[in-house]
Symmetry: C2
Subunit: 348 residues, 2 copies
């Protein structure tokens, strides 16, 4: 999650710059003592996975949204903000193949927030919760001087045989995305008032993708239930970076066919008008909250058919997993490394 | 949790003033749809209680700490801040009689935070976690422009027969506290640079109470395991206010014997020197993080003996539960209502 079109919240000129977000995570991860027997997956996946007696697993994820870092107060309606803060957490549960169940909200409120704002925020949050069968069961409400802060923790459930982590991808697996990528980044481009002519329908589509993302909970469940996927992640940091995370955890690499990425007409038209590369938004824009997953090659057709039949979702093959631990991108028939394309943050 | 000596983060002149913290909670609580069968306790207790198959219950609590609202950067060391953010959450698990197990940290970092600060914060947090058998299993790291924000969610476990809520107190029950009250508020008084002479040992004790609270996890477990308590809460908002919460949830009232409150010599000496009333800190100071619990009258002696024998903790009877839904305070032999003593925030 980030608000600027390039780079995440930590700039290189800041004290933690060289450490960065993933450095901070690693700093905590390194110190954490060996997980006990009831911990199945700890820090380093979309969710932690806990064993709770029997075959059931508890999934836990936390995401924090901070004003002026992840959202601008006048760039998102309070109801959309409520929706989005829930949706990004549900997307993490979806990425594990889980069934989201309960949410806990810590809310840092600035003095200028009024009841109308708060009602709309609550309605958006509970709309999203209700849409995906989640109960809001607790939280904390505090004052914040700096800006509005929403920190949400979501619990989900899955059976032990259906939990999907990031670390099961194997050479030959086909890499899929569960929907279009780049819309959210293009929407952010519009939101930041950047140049580019666009018709109202396109504008609506792109803003909605950025402001009201739809977590692919049903898709994650379908894939997990049918044991179709070896590894899965949601696209929050961008296709390249999230594919990088998945490959790192699976100790593999990937060949990515950039030309096969499902990029909408709206994204292409805005990019053309704005003098931008639509694939840039698709590869590194992030916040698409579609699932990125790996399917054994002999089940590729089955996966496509099942998602179409059960959910009317077109999942799109975008590459293959390879043994060599590096990511290559093929574009216009030419293979390059992401670094050569200017993407230097594609992995930790 | 609050930083000012009087009132919580929401002043009356702010837009949400009349709503207040508990109003915001109720606003969310009202809208939450009827809890499903796997939810045993939702919003309105120290933790949510979830059924997870079998006799085991999952306890969940969330607390958010915001710079300049809950702490001043130069008033608490980073290691103490880490400790305290964990401790206040563990105290909520303790108040349900639970066994804390896993923590998830969402961290909003300002650009001026350096690695030394972060290392110390982590060490304090993990020290407290390790002391009470808790694993840090995940979280989120984001940039914050306003101030440092720590939002922690802690999961705990308890068997269904041992979970203690706020709502089981009955007339005749004896009200106890698990340790001294007022030290934390007196420590905050010192921290804010308020007047009052004090010797270094007293100063150390009071600051430590405020900056490094000790959650009474073992006490909570002991009481729950022995089925000694009918209701329990931790003293975060102050004895009067937290007793008010407990009484409200139990639909009872209480007679509080203020003169029996365990108030330390250090608190009394600072109050004398500062021209303050030590009972004021004890009754409404808050952030003591001792347990406040109700014991059937025929088990009063047993509770005292067991806590002394097993944990060397002196639990102190401070009043009794009554049928009439109001709180009375006896002080110097005279009964008054908290409102007459100037405490108007003792209940929602």
């Amino acid at each position: 999650l980030r608000l600027s079109e390039k780079g995440c919240g930590f700039g290189m000129d800041e004290k933690l710059g060289k450490l960065g977000e993933f450095g901070v995570i690693d700093l905590f991860r390194r110190m954490v003592r060996p997980a006990r027997d009831w911990v199945s997956t700890g820090i380093g996946d979309d969710c932690a996975v806990l064993k709770l007696g029997g075959a059931e697993r508890l999934l836990v994820t936390t995401d924090m949204l901070v004003e002026d870092v992840h959202f601008l107060r006048d760039g998102i309606s309070p109801s959309q903000l409520g929706w989005k803060s829930m949706a990004v957490n549900l997307s993490d549960i979806a990425a594990m193949g889980g069934d989201p169940a309960a949410a806990f909200l810590a809310l840092g409120l600035t003095p200028d927030i009024d009841r109308t704002f708060l009602n709309a925020l609550r309605d958006g949050l509970l709309d999203c919760a209700s849409r995906f069968g989640v109960d809001l069961l607790g939280g904390d409400t505090v004052a914040s001087n700096g800006g509005l802060v929403l920190s949400l923790t979501v619990l989900g459930r899955a059976s032990s045989t259906e939990v999907v982590t990031r670390n099961g991808a194997g050479p030959g697996d086909v890499v899929f995305v569960g929907g279009g990528v780049g819309d959210s980044a293009a929407g952010l481009h519009l939101l930041l008032g950047s140049p580019g002519q666009i018709d109202p329908a396109d504008r609506g589509q792109l803003l909605k993708a950025h402001l009201e993302p739809q977590p692919q909970v049903e898709l994650g469940r379908l894939l997990a239930r049918n044991h179709l996927v070896t590894a899965m992640i949601d696209v929050s940091d961008g296709v390249l970076q999230d594919l990088g995370h998945l490959c790192e955890e699976s100790q593999v690499g990937a060949d990515l066919l950039a030309d096969q990425l499902p990029v909408s007409g709206a994204v292409r038209r805005l990019a053309l008008s704005a003098g931008r590369d639509p694939l840039d938004w698709a590869l590194s824009g992030g916040e698409d909250y579609v699932l990125l997953f790996c399917v054994p090659s002999d089940r590729e057709a089955e996966a496509i058919r099942l998602c179409e039949k059960e959910l009317e979702i077109q999942v799109v093959p975008i590459g293959t997993i390879g043994k060599e631990r590096r990511i290559r991108v093929r574009r216009d028939g030419v293979w390059t490394r992401p670094e050569e394309l200017g993407y230097d943050h594609f992995r930790r």
